[in-house]
């Protein structure tokens, strides 16, 4: 069993620890520091959140998406063809993002995540996975005044992200995670997702995962089984019907088992987590399990997120102890 995160890590800690990134961004906005100085602060905070993940005991680390405003605009700004629009709600959270607006043909001007992957890998004692928002979700959460055809937009995005994935693989990334939360909210589009992910990950050669959250994948597991990825991440907290879907099986992939609630501060106990792991291990063998929070951790205060990760790791330890 491997432990990991499902996405973002909270950017700032609470008092008495200093909110360095928040202060640096505010100072940049006021023109008091240069973009280079802000980039340095982002690097420092990235190291800090990698350290926290290592300290919590995770096996597979992410860079925490410290430099990302949100899952959409960071990718949109890296590609050609996007403008950035007004604030909209991210699914049913109380978190908002600026909605990307497709206004021209999508293009890939060159790697925009590789340097960040290399930086994270150089500062982590454990393997680092690279994180990308997938073409389907990116299209679903953007407006489009250029293509007027969802499929063509999704496939062009897949082509651009394919280039980025190849660049990440060439830089040595052992694992690429593609986040596609929108697909479990629009299940009818699974065939389009399949076409896009196949194009995006063709010949990439790393281990790959596709993660979903905030809803269940009931009814579409056979389609997810067909995707050319190694791991499927499902949210069992906000999508409890995933239990029945998994039971109905077959499930042939490794499972990203999202079981710690990353949207609520209520603390699961290590024993509760261990019990859930034993339960899922009856459906998916333990050696095919990645245990992770239900979604990115940015909906929680930093200290709560850290404590939840520690308990998650302890829960895995207890589940393994019983299994032996």
């Amino acid at each position: 069993m491997q432990t990991t995160v499902a996405g973002s890590y909270p950017k700032i800690p609470n008092r008495p620890r200093p909110a360095r990134l928040r202060q640096a961004i505010a100072r940049r906005d006021r023109g008091e520091i240069t973009p280079e100085e802000l980039a340095r602060a982002e690097d420092e905070v990235t190291i800090e959140v990698i350290q926290e993940q290592l300290e919590a005991g995770l096996d597979l680390i992410a860079d925490g998406q410290v430099r990302w405003d949100d899952d959409q605009t960071h990718i949109a700004r890296g590609l050609e063809g996007f403008e950035i629009g007004g604030l909209v709600r991210y699914f049913d959270t109380n978190t908002y993002y600026r909605q990307p607006a497709v206004s021209g043909p999508i293009g890939w001007p060159g790697p925009f995540l590789v340097r960040d992957y290399e930086f994270a890998a150089a500062h982590s004692a454990k393997p680092v996975k690279a994180m990308l928002t997938g073409p389907y979700t990116l299209a679903a959460l953007s407006t489009d005044s250029h293509y007027g055809d969802r499929r063509r937009l999704v496939l062009d995005l897949a082509q651009a992200l394919h280039q980025e994935a190849l660049a990440l693989a060439a830089a040595g990334a052992p694992f690429i995670q593609v986040n596609e939360p929108a697909i479990v909210h629009n299940k009818d589009d699974a065939p389009l997702l399949h076409e896009a992910i196949t194009r995006m990950l063709d010949g990439v050669g790393t281990r790959t995962a596709l993660h979903t959250w905030f809803a269940d994948a009931a009814g579409m597991l056979p389609l997810l089984n067909d995707l050319p990825v190694d791991v499927i991440g499902l949210d069992f907290v906000w999508g409890p019907a995933n239990w029945d879907a998994l039971k109905a099986g077959p499930f042939t992939k490794d499972l990203g088992f999202g079981i710690v609630d990353a949207r609520n501060t209520r603390m699961e106990t290590a024993d509760e987590i261990a019990a859930q792991i034993r339960r899922v291990a009856e459906l998916v063998p333990a050696e095919r399990l990645y245990v992770n929070p239900s979604c990115g951790l940015e909906y929680l205060p930093r200290e709560v997120a850290f404590e939840k990760l520690k308990r998650m790791v302890e829960g895995v330890r207890r589940a393994e102890a019983v299994a032996v």
């Binding site: 909270p10 950017k11 700032i12 609470n14 909110a19 928040r22 961004i25 505010a26 906005d29 405003d69 949100d70 604030l87 709600r89 049913d92 109380n94 978190t95 908002y96 993002y97 600026r98 609520n264 501060t265 209520r266 603390m267 940015e298 909906y299 929680l300 205060p301 930093r302 200290e303 709560v304």
Partner: protein
């Protein structure tokens, strides 16, 4: 017959600099509560006088004592805290904006009057009615973490009891209008809309008072015409922000004939001052669908993010436009 094109405001006004400074000193323990309350009252009086001068019909007290519409009831410094709530750690809402997200950590309970004293003070300053101002049970829960209740439904219905108790106190104190804001109501329209309505029913049922509710931005089209089931006399919406596109919804499905519509006619999120002609145009378009007796005129939302001058400027434009329309249509 009721009055035509009654003017009011949504809730919050900007805090004068001296009050913003005092609030920050208070939260650092450098200022006594009595001092803070004195300044809150001074600022409240400023806004009551300002609204009187501008000619609004139904006033708001301006929420000088509140930082955030949920956190005020959940442990923010200087606030009034519902039993079972506290402030949690910082969570990002977007960009570089963070807020202390409230936490429900135990059974919710009414801690005694939370808003009555300030309402009574504001009402004592003026002959015009001042609205009681509360946050609705669904929004209170939706914008908080919940570590206590087994389901959102349990939490929302317990929160409804707390809010109802506060409404009873406001009405006992003499409030004729109570506004209960539910800006989070369209978060999960398919799953939760019935719950939000049931909670509102429990808050208002059998209480003799005119209830209004404010629903902010977000996907209003997902909850219209469902929102007409809300047991309130008036629903107000941010029309100006979407250039009155909501009127299309009303064309497709007429607004409830028992309800009044509150029409937001100035955008609160821009420094730009709308020309009077533009505001008049919005009012006229609304009047093509509803009689003036059932239309109230207000800003899109609370004005607290504007400067004092901008807020007064927007209210002035709103009042000038309303007066001109009334004159042109020979209303009252």
């Amino acid at each position: 017959m009721s009055a035509a094109l009654v003017t009011t405001a949504v809730g919050s006004y900007p805090k004068p600099d001296y009050l913003a400074r005092a609030r920050s000193q208070f939260s650092q323990g450098k200022l006594h509560r009595e001092e803070l309350e004195k300044l809150e009252r001074q600022a409240t009086e400023f806004w009551i006088r300002s609204q009187e001068r501008l000619g609004l019909d139904v006033l708001v007290h301006g929420e000088m004592e509140r930082g955030d519409m949920v956190a005020y009831f959940a442990g923010e410094p200087g606030g009034r805290t519902i039993e079972g709530m506290k402030l949690g750690g910082l969570v990002r809402s977007y960009g570089n904006r963070y807020y202390h997200k409230p936490v429900i950590f135990a059974k919710l309970g009414w801690p005694g009057p939370m808003t009555v004293e300030m309402w009574r003070y504001a009402q004592s300053l003026t002959d015009r009615p001042v609205k009681g101002m509360l946050t609705g049970p669904y929004t209170m829960v939706e914008w908080s973490f919940d570590e206590h209740y087994p389901s959102r439904r349990d939490a929302v219905l317990d929160m409804a009891k707390v809010i109802r108790r506060e409404v009873e106190e406001l009405v006992k104190a003499g409030a004729r209008y109570v506004q209960i804001d539910e800006p989070a109501i369209h978060t999960r329209p398919r799953q939760d809309f019935d719950l939000a309505i049931e909670a509102m029913e429990r808050v208002v049922e059998g209480i003799d008072c005119e209830f209004h509710t404010h629903i902010c931005y977000g996907e209003v089209e997902l909850i219209y015409p469902d929102m007409l089931r809300l047991p309130v006399k008036q629903i107000h919406l941010a029309f100006k922000n979407t250039n009155f596109e909501y009127l299309k919804l009303l064309e497709e499905h007429p607004f409830d004939s028992d309800k009044d519509l509150g029409v937001g006619v100035v955008d609160v999120h821009t420094h730009l001052m709308e020309p009077v002609a533009e505001v008049k145009d919005g009012i006229r378009r609304t009047l093509a669908l509803l009689p003036p007796e059932r239309v109230w005129i207000l800003p899109d939302c609370g004005l607290k993010t504007r400067t004092v001058e901008e807020a007064e400027g927007k209210l002035r434009v709103m009042m000038d436009a309303t007066r001109e329309i009334k004159r042109e249509l020979e209303l009252d």
